[in-house]
Symmetry: C2
Subunit: 224 residues, 2 copies
């Protein structure tokens, strides 16, 4: 799967969040593409990028409950309602400066992120694309190191994993990643191999459990 | 009451809708203010306009389910969260090219205009302003002449009438307007005077009816 990330952030150089996400986007088949306000948009080039992607990610900080103006300009110039994007996926990666709980009825921001992003959901529907659940980063600067590590993995999975990925696929994704890590850094081999063995044991147990559940379900159906 | 209309429309000269609305905005205490994309925004002047207004109207066509980029630029540069706009009213006048029924669950556009405008409602809440119900123009070009006339009056009332205006106040507003019409065009006097008399008779009947209702309510309360 090919993923295209459209980054709209007027102060990119000052954004620790975007630097973190850019590091996460260094993956095969993932294109990180910045919309520079100082340059005019090359409409043909933008459309070509969209055409070869299977998943399109719009990535931006929330400015007045919407995307920065540059993304709106990009939409006005690049998007067409012609079915050329039909069947592709659209995801929104949005960062906010306030805590996640503020975005709910009665909270400081009154509305959920899902509600505020309705224009993007409507646009996805119009283009006959599939809308992915938004990936939200709240108060990134306040996160602990371990929370950032979990976020890093979750972001990479958001960019690359199929939407219907079951728990077992998410685990396989992780195993694959660890194996690549051993190949790249042999000195980590002993530590990583131990983690791998644990994961594979868990995977076998999980498979057994699922098989048992299926059998139980089958026998229940027999009883009916 | 002073009303400020912020107009965001990249193709203003080609818009029959905006020309119609501009004609409607020729009223005392109403300022029609166009955001020209070719000029940079004078932030101090924009803030001054906001400060003297009691009601701020954001007026634009829906582009990809949001406002044109120029309005987002204006928001980013001009708005501040400092309470300087607290207590003022904010209304959205939005034009769409598709029929009104398309904006609902299961409809062609999937979401209501209210849902798509959540970012503006959230912004209004953040600025401690009062959100007016949106004024929506759907497929303006397809409207009959009489529908356009009704829309013209409704738009002028949206710009100038208090939110809590009861039916009787709306009628007084209309009477006031007719009287001014006679002053400006004496040749219409006979026809307009007839309409005025009818309206005033209706108003008296309405007043009587309301008085009767109040008496009935009062006697009900006595019984309790």
């Amino acid at each position: 799967m090919k993923t295209l990330i459209i980054v709209a952030h007027p102060q990119l150089a000052d954004s620790a969040t975007q630097a973190f996400l850019k590091a996460g986007a260094q993956l095969p088949d993932v294109t990180w593409h910045y919309l520079d306000e100082r340059q005019s948009i090359n409409v043909a080039a933008e459309r070509q990028l969209l055409l070869v992607a299977n998943r399109v990610i719009l990535q931006f900080p929330l400015y007045w409950y919407s995307a920065p103006a540059i993304l709106q300009i990009w939409e006005e110039q690049v998007l067409q309602v012609k079915g050329s994007l039909a069947g592709k996926e659209l995801g929104v990666v949005v960062s906010t400066g306030v805590k996640a709980e503020a975005y709910q009825a009665g909270g400081a921001e009154q509305f959920t992120i899902s509600e505020l992003l309705r224009p993007f959901q409507a646009l996805t529907h119009k283009l006959q694309m599939t809308y992915l659940q938004p990936f939200v980063l709240s108060q990134f600067a306040h996160l602990s190191e371990s929370a950032k590590q979990r976020l890093f993995i979750a972001y990479q999975q958001y960019l690359t994993l199929s939407v219907s990925a079951a728990f077992s696929e998410r685990e396989s994704w992780f195993v694959e990643r660890l194996k690549r890590m051993i190949a790249a850094k042999p000195e980590l081999k002993d530590r990583v191999t131990l983690i791998l063995e644990q994961l594979e044991t868990q995977q076998e147990q999980l498979d057994e459990l699922q098989w048992t559940l299926q059998m139980m379900k089958a026998s229940e159906n027999d009883d009916e």
